[in-house]
Amino acid sequence: MAEITPVLTRHIVEGNPPLDLAGYRAVGGYESLRVAVETMSPDEVREVVKESNLRGRGGAGFPTGVKWGFVPQGPDSPRPKYIIANGDEMEPGTFKDRLLIHGNPHQLIEAMIIAAWALQADVGYIFLRPEYEAGAHLLESAIEEAHAAGLLGDNVLESRWSFELHAHISAGRYICGEETALMNALEGRRPNPRSRPPYPAIAGLWGKPTIVQNIETLVCLPHIVANGAGWFRHLGLTEDSGTKLYCVSGMVEHPGNYELPIGVTLRELIYEHCGGMRDGRDFKAALPGGASTMFMSPDELDTPLDFTNLEKAGNRLGTAGVIVVDQDTSIVGMVLNLMHFFAQESCGWCTPCREGLPWIEDLLRDLVEGRGRKGDSRLLGHEMRMIGPNSFCALALGAEGPLLSALEKFPEEFEAYVTNVPDPTASIEAAPATVTEVGS
């Protein structure tokens, strides 16, 4: 079993109140910020983050240092510049940022200030889903403490640089986690995604350079500054860097958050850390990174759960919200639940997503409720492939993951629902050119 001293969750004790400023300082808190602001230039901080190979923990896995490199720097760069912490954690099966927000708010604030120093940002927002309101209040108190101690506001740590930080509580829509929709939400506009380019790093919040980072990605920063890029790279078991919060739910004996070296296998995670399958059931499948990732089957239990290896397997690490499925759970029923979620949370902006996902949901409900027809599997796959690539943002592409992988890996479960109703799609094969190339 991979043993590890927790890094991000080290000072978090579930059920206990989080460390206040004095307590956080007593365990070395804000020392990395002091090192960054007093001994490192913003360029140097950006460089160490780039070298650390830190990749985004919110779902996309984009290298943080590369993203930061797009932000205009220098005296002529547009101001103000913004840094946003994305705490709109609503990806089903994901509950890691909740722990980091509620468990150690000062760690997040220190991380935000370090990121802001590196980017020479002026204003920061921590964007939170409404159900994390208790966390927002903890953050607000911590922000006040940090302000009073000269860590925030005018002349941070007596430097010539100033930074203001605010917590924003949203009102509940999954699409707000998409970074351009999030910026519209913060501007008080309808949170539909924006077209890219321009990318937020160039023209984001109110048209100014903006970086949006997931909470877990941010809280890696104080540790990278304290221990160096090489240390962070060596934490991982594979070519990826750092520790990872795996939040495991579903049919395991001990669901929960596990901070482990990135790259543990699915088998090790379930059987060594989570106490195995619940009540000794058999493993059937897992989604490795929330609702928007692809099903893994029993022959993939030895796949390392990291960015690189899952990408090689045609999958994604996503949020590392590992949802474990046992032998008795219906894959089709589960996919119906997931498609209901995506259909409901479509923002309605573009037609393929708004109209297509409810259709997919209806087809699946017909199957589950005994109205399944021969050819439904093919129709589901066909329609899903049309919706994803033709929609405006990544939401419908996220829905594609679980549905298409379920159709591929568990076709017999779909077929089992088929009744004797004639196949209305029999003609599709007769005219493939008109229907299959649109989304390819």
């Binding site: 954690e89 609503m90 990806e91 089903p92 099966g93 994901t94 509950f95 940022d97 909740r98 204003v123 889903r129 409404p130 159900e131 994390y132 309101e133 208790a134 605010h166 924003h168 509580i169 949203s170 009102a171 509940g172 829509r173 999954y174 939400a185 913060l186 501007e187 008080g188 506009r189 309808r190 949170p191 109110w206 939040c247 495991v248 739910s249 579903g250 049919m251 669901p255 929960g256 958050n257 989604l287 609702a291 919200g321 949802i323 499925v325 759970t329 029923g333 589960m334 639940n337 997931l338 209901h340 979620f341 409901q344 949370e345 923002c347």
Partner: protein, 162 residues
């Protein structure tokens, strides 16, 4: 209803966290809802006047977000997670018990105006599935029997305002 001087002081404080009035829209409406339980036509108009925005802009936001209420809700709002991990761990039994005990479906309010029942997207409490929230309080590993004791415990107490 019109905002009192005291209300305006609180609203000005909220407004101060944002770049402009529009950006404060959601926070102002959340405050209105916190105070009145929901956002009435009149309070939507008041909020729009306070912010100097068309009421239609606020209406567009209020109807977009899942947790801004444009209709009166009960004293307690029960938000039941219907996402995948809870579904796998017994959400349907919990939902059915709530429907049966309260005599209402999703989106409805009980006749005594004590409870409103809503489905909610993944609450980020999947390790304690099935889960639900009553007002701001999270309940872990809820069973059908547990539903009865939760309803018993909250009925007549506190509420989602203030």
């Amino acid at each position: 209803m019109s905002f009192s001087a005291e209300d305006k002081t609180r609203l000005d404080e909220i407004r101060s966290h944002y770049h402009d009035a529009r950006a404060a829209s959601v926070s102002v409406m959340r405050w209105v809802q916190r105070t009145n339980g929901y956002i009435s036509d009149e309070s939507l108009q008041d909020a729009a006047e306070y912010l100097g925005l068309p009421a239609a802009d606020l209406e567009g936001l209020a109807t977009f977000y899942n947790l801004l209420f444009r209709k009166p809700v009960g004293n307690h709002v029960i938000k039941v997670c219907d996402s995948v991990s809870c579904w796998m761990c017994g959400y349907e039994r919990v939902r059915d018990r709530l429907r049966e005990r309260l005599g209402i479906g999703f989106g409805e309010t009980s006749e005594d105006r004590e409870f409103t029942l809503l489905p909610v997207v993944c609450l980020g409490n999947c390790d304690n599935a099935p889960t639900l929230m009553v007002n701001d309080h999270l309940y872990d590993r809820v069973t059908p029997e547990g539903v009865d004791s939760i309803l018993e415990a909250v009925r007549g107490h506190g509420g989602n305002r203030g």
